[in-house]
Amino acid sequence: MPAIEILGLEKTYSVGFWRKRQKRALLPLQLTVEDGEIFGFLGPNGAGKTTTLKLLMGLVFPTAGSARILGHEWTEPSVKAQIGFLPEQPYFYDYLTAHELLEYYGQLSGVPARQRKQRVEQVLEKVGLRDVQGVQLRKFSKGMLQRVGIGQAILHDPKLVFFDEPMSGLDPMGRREVRDLMEQLKHEGKTVFFSTHILSDAEALCDRVAIIHKGELRGVGAIEDLTSSVQGKVEVVWQGTQVPASVKALGAECHVTGDRVRAIIAENQQDAMIDVLRRERQRLTAITPVRTSLEAYFVEKLKRAETTAGTTA
């Protein structure tokens, strides 16, 4: 059973005061997230990531479509007892201490009183806030608030956790800790769905990713599968101090460092490049495949989307 099935959810907002305009925040979205995976939801700012999460959380209502979470209709209140949610740049009741806040959320999530106290202690320990549990949140830094946010999302031991930009505002150590926590959640058999625009985080963590841009899904799959679909490149290195004109003619991107020349060319130009270097009597040193990163895939997808939009217009 998939953890999340999004069945054509879409959202159009009416904007403007007198003359209402329709703004499509999310085009019909079809997406399935399998049980137990870490799923990255990627896209630039304003792509529709947060709108999707808000729709799934019932914070905004869809214009059309539906979803199933853990096998149930996503609007069923019982489903919410099994999911955790960290909003983007979370803000909490700052008159409460970290302990009181988690206690309150535990109450609302229906965690039985006997387990609640123990669970709050465990979570405070897990997110590294045990020493400051009695301090009011108004005295917390942004990073500490993010930890509180993560704490409240996992407090009731949910089967599925939604994180909206979880690394936002964290220092490198904090980001590392969140990554570790997400991996730990996966090992505990939980499903993690997180949105981010930081691709290195997605690359390091995700089993699968989806890319969304201007409210439209542009690609979904395992990172290796997605990146392999982008035409590969190779780096060719030879001894020399000048770039022959015939090499430039192949469209190579060349850099001269000391007595070596490095050229990046498309994989399908590799044989032609070798022939040119032989003819020019250059001494070849190395040919290395350049690994296509998720970033390259992402940029290509966005560029393609822009081009398509330009052509259509």
Partner: protein, 258 residues
């Protein structure tokens, strides 16, 4: 369900206490003790009348101001600061949130009124040196003030569910002022003719009739309050507050939290 409402109500109460809302009690105590000492010196025979009038009016006004200024932010502030996201992503229904907020605010006002009532009785004891049986009527006036607060709480929540805090404050305060003159409005409707009659009658019955809750002057003159009025006011306040809360729930239930 009931427990979730209770948790939300208790958190709302805690917010009010920690945001030092009850500090108004200090201002109230100062006002009342100052007034008691002053009237003790300048008025003859009517000290008690002045203290009851002044005390109960202050209880009512302080409470109304608190109800409006907390109430207007109860929903809109939670949306603006996005604290609502982590509440509604839990098994909490939107109507439970509204009802919980209502009880939290009402509870704050009841506690506030309780302490202010102690102040009124203390000032009364200071000027008359004893309590008489008729002083119990003050409790009826206080009960009516609390009923008035319930209506104001529900109205501020209704406005807060769809408009900004500033507009909510303007709407709520305007309704309080118009509602305080509801009887006059009804009298005017009786005198008017044609479309004006129907229009004014409609408005007069739509706005909350706060003038029916004001028994301060008669209580100060030790005139008894009819049991029927107590029953009528209780039913009216509960009906009006329920209607306003239902409106708030209906609006909030359909609202996108952008």
């Amino acid at each position: 369900m009931r427990t979730r409402i209770a948790y939300i109500a208790s958190n709302t109460f805690r917010e009010a206490v920690r945001d030092r809302v009850l500090y108004n009690l200090i201002a109230f105590a100062l006002l009342l003790s100052g007034a008691a000492i002053l009237v003790g010196q300048i008025s003859i025979e009517i000290e008690k009348l002045v203290v009851i009038n002044l005390g109960l009016t202050a209880v009512s006004l302080f409470g109304v101001v608190i109800a409006i200024f907390i109430g207007i932010g109860l929903v809109s502030k939670e949306i603006e600061k996005r604290t609502l996201y982590t509440v509604l992503s839990r098994p909490v229904r939107r109507w439970e949130f509204i009802v919980g907020k209502f009880f939290g605010l009402a509870g704050t006002l009841v506690v506030n009124t309780f302490f202010m009532a102690i102040g009124v009785f203390a000032a009364l004891f200071y000027v008359s040196h004893k309590f008489v049986r008729a002083d119990a009527l003050i409790l009826v006036a206080l009960y009516f003030i609390i009923l008035e607060f319930l209506i104001i709480c529900s109205l501020t929540l209704l406005f807060s569910s769809f408009s900004s805090p500033l507009l909510s404050a303007v709407f709520a305060f305007s309704l309080f002022v118009i509602g305080s003159f509801a009887e006059d409005l009804r009298n005017f409707a009786g005198m008017a003719t044609g479309i004006t009659h129907w229009l004014v009658t409609g408005v007069a019955y739509l706005v909350p009739n706060f003038s029916a809750f004001n028994v301060i002057t008669s209580v100060a003159h030790e005139q008894p309050v009819a049991g029927q009025l107590i029953l009528q006011n209780t039913l009216y306040a509960l009906f009006y507050a329920t209607m306003a809360l239902s409106g708030a729930v209906l609006i909030f239930d359909r609202r996108d939290l952008k």
